[in-house]
């Protein structure tokens, strides 16, 4: 099994005629069993097609043409238009929105998230590469062209959650090389406010029988790691978690932002040092190097199994 998406998931691409979106559509169609990309939306481009995917002016038209509710949308439109595109998707019954766009102001993100909550929808991102279920489906640019994605991702028992799109692939590739496949890998986005945090995805992995361990990539900035630490302490999770913290050097440079917008340190709880301490205190293993992750995952799984006997 997997979380969020599976082979039957249908989705559209909003902003489908943009250069990156055209590539992304090709990649999703080619990967695994081939994603069910049932339409694309670019206002004013009704009647065109992108790699055989019909283009509509509105999400409503796409839903009507499909003749049934559509599960998801990948949104890749300029920052000034993203909020409207996401509201449109949700208003038309879409329950899973992956926002690729970066540089969206926090106020817009927060509005989209509150609107999604009110409609029982979930947002992944913004500033993310999407979701991949190895060998089955990918929704978003994660892993790149089908050939490259297949090289890095293999099916297995590790759930991957990462604030960096590229590092989702780097860590999954390292796991794959060590014989540890992934159940689902989620690039959650690098912004200060995102639709789904680690702690908000944990219950899904917890409920997924295939998943036996979690690997996360983290950075300075924000309180997402503190939230995960609290979740871990409050819920008696069956899943061992291994975390990798990048950007430790930033602790010496308060007020500067590197890598992603969300890395801006706005309080003393946001530093790498503080986060590592919090994660460790919650029983989460913090890896010093990425190559150490596979062994730590194996140890974590073995310990849980030992404890269960």
């Amino acid at each position: 099994m997997s979380i969020l998406i599976d082979a039957s998931t249908t989705f559209i691409v909003q902003g489908i005629t943009g250069r990156e979106a055209v590539n992304l559509t090709r990649e999703c169609l080619d990967y695994g069993a081939g994603a069910k990309v049932v339409g694309g939306v670019t206002p004013g481009r009704l009647g065109r097609d992108v790699h055989g995917v019909p283009v509509f002016d509105t999400v409503a038209q796409a839903v009507e043409a499909h003749g049934a509710p559509i599960d998801g949308s990948v949104v890749t439109v300029p920052p000034a238009f993203t909020k409207d595109a996401v509201l449109e998707a949700i208003a038309n019954g879409i329950k899973l929105v992956v926002i690729v766009t970066e540089r969206i102001p926090r106020r817009d993100v927060a509005q989209m998230v509150e609107f999604a909550d009110a409609h029982g929808a979930r947002i992944i991102g913004p500033n993310c590469l999407g979701i991949i279920v190895p060998d089955v489906i990918k929704m978003g640019g994660i892993g790149g062209p089908a050939k490259n994605a297949a090289q890095a991702y293999t099916p297995g028992l590790v759930g991957v959650i990462s604030r960096s799109g590229g590092m989702t692939t780097e860590m999954s590739s390292t796991l794959s090389a060590a014989g540890l496949g992934q159940s689902t890998a989620v690039s959650i986005g690098g912004d200060a406010i995102i639709g789904s945090t680690y702690a908000e995805l944990m219950p899904l992995f917890e409920a997924d029988a295939q998943t036996e361990a979690i690997v996360i990539y983290t950075e300075p900035g924000g309180r997402m790691e503190a939230q995960l630490a609290a979740w871990t302490l409050e819920n008696d999770s069956r899943l061992p978690i291994v975390a990798f913290m990048a950007g430790r050097f930033m602790d010496e440079m308060p007020g500067m932002s590197f890598g992603h917008a969300g890395t801006i340190v706005e309080g003393k709880e946001d530093t790498a040092t503080e986060k590592i301490a919090r994660l460790a205190a919650a029983g989460i293993t913090v890896a010093e190097r990425i190559e150490d992750i596979p062994d730590l995952v194996k140890q974590g799984i073995a310990e849980r199994k030992g404890a269960a006997v």
Partner: protein, 398 residues
């Protein structure tokens, strides 16, 4: 981006929140004139984008316009924490009965703005929250509608404030919450909010931070305040090297090869992407390496851009070699980056095999990329070599 106090005061006043009479001066003469207009004792405050002004001697009290001018002269010449003051704020010394705190910021976990209020103002709010938690009121706001007056009233009342102060502060806190949203602030703070002897309230100091991502749609406010696009308001001013990095990135719209930050080491870094750069920078330092710079490549930059960035780093005084490293790339092409960095070496008259300490970028178009690197004898590594090991080799090769 952070605003200076004199700008924050303008923003507050624009939102209909009264402030103590004040003026902004860049010379002692101007300071004298403002003090004369105020016609009462004044406070001269350094306008710098850093805290600890008081301790550093950047805040001084004056009884006469002459004294105001003398203090202004001193403060204008006083560097605080490496920041040269933009000017001084000449503020009236109001007769304060009580100081309050009013602020709005983001709660990233709840994904909502939060209003914060305390009747113990004038000091650090985090300190008050620790020592007198019952004196700090908080309330989350909806993202989907404007903050209402009653919400401000509830926060204030929750701290035990009632009577006229409650009536007077309610619209001030509500307006602060509304300006926070309207202007895409990440922090909007009035501390202290002063209750004067006559029962009126004025903002005596204000601190505003706006989200960088919102600058394009806040052009009108920025223009009104006279903040130009070139003012990045980072924690420190951009260096010439960093500005040159921005110019490289701006040469075309294909991908990113920039976000350059200068350091004083000898190992030039041409690294990416966002998370990869953070990981690699840590790894280089963990192996005892001294980076000359931080940067990010991503989103499939052109050969010209990769070349421009590599040239810039290679030309930095003290840099002997560059390490070209990224986490596995999906949409950036390995061959394009390889071409770019080799071109940079050749055009500067260097042997790429000598100048590139290591090339570790696996992923899209890697076969083509590795072929080019081999032809030039550049040491390279595929995905079987970790980011950490690549960093170790780079450091060992300097």
């Amino acid at each position: 981006m952070r605003f200076f106090e004199y700008e924050s005061r303008k923003i507050v006043a624009k939102a209909g929140i009264p402030t103590s009479p004040h003026g902004f001066a860049t010379s002692p003469q101007e300071a004298r004139r403002i003090a004369q207009d105020i016609g009462a004792p004044t406070v001269i405050k350094s306008q710098v984008l850093t805290g600890g002004r008081m301790k550093a001697g950047g805040v001084k009290f004056a009884d006469t316009p002459g004294e105001a001018a003398a203090h202004a002269e001193e403060i204008l010449a006083l560097e605080i924490d490496g920041h040269v003051p933009r000017g001084v704020l000449v503020d009236s010394r109001v007769a304060v009965k009580q100081e309050y705190y009013a602020g709005v910021t983001w709660d990233g976990t709840r994904k909502k703005p939060v209003m914060i209020f305390s009747p113990m103002g004038g000091i650090d709010i985090e300190e008050v929250a620790e020592t007198h938690p019952d004196k700090v009121g908080r309330k989350h706001l909806s993202n989907l509608r404007e903050a209402a007056d009653f919400e401000a009233k509830e926060v204030i009342a929750s701290t035990g404030v009632t009577g006229r102060p409650l009536q007077r502060i309610t619209p001030i806190l509500a307006r602060l919450a509304r300006l926070f949203s309207e202007y895409d602030m990440t922090l909007a703070e009035i501390n202290p909010l002063a209750e004067l002897e006559d029962g009126s309230f004025v903002a005596v100091d204000a601190h505003m931070d706006m989200e960088n991502e919102a600058r394009p749609r806040q052009k009108a406010l920025l223009a009104e305040l006279g903040v130009g696009d070139e003012e990045t308001r980072q924690a420190r001013e951009a260096t010439e090297f960093e500005l040159a990095g921005e110019a490289v990135d701006a040469q075309d719209h294909r991908g990113v090869a920039g976000n350059v930050t200068e350091f004083d080491g000898d190992l030039g870094l041409v690294i990416g992407a966002g998370g990869g750069s953070l990981t690699l920078f840590d790894a280089v330092r963990a192996h005892g390496g001294r980076p000359a710079n931080y940067c990010e490549i991503g989103g499939n930059p052109s050969v010209a851009k990769a070349c421009g960035l590599a040239k810039l780093v290679l030309s930095k005084p003290g840099v002997d070699k560059i390490a070209v490293m990224m986490s596995i790339v999906s949409n950036t092409r390995v061959d394009i980056v390889a071409r770019g960095v080799i071109k940079a070496c050749v055009e500067l008259g260097h042997d790429p095999a000598e100048k590139i300490a290591i090339f570790r970028i696996p992923g899209a178009w890697e076969e083509e990329g590795f072929k080019i690197l081999e032809a030039y004898g550049v040491p390279y590594a595929d995905r079987s070599v970790s980011l950490n090991e690549a960093a170790r080799r780079a450091v060992a090769n300097v």
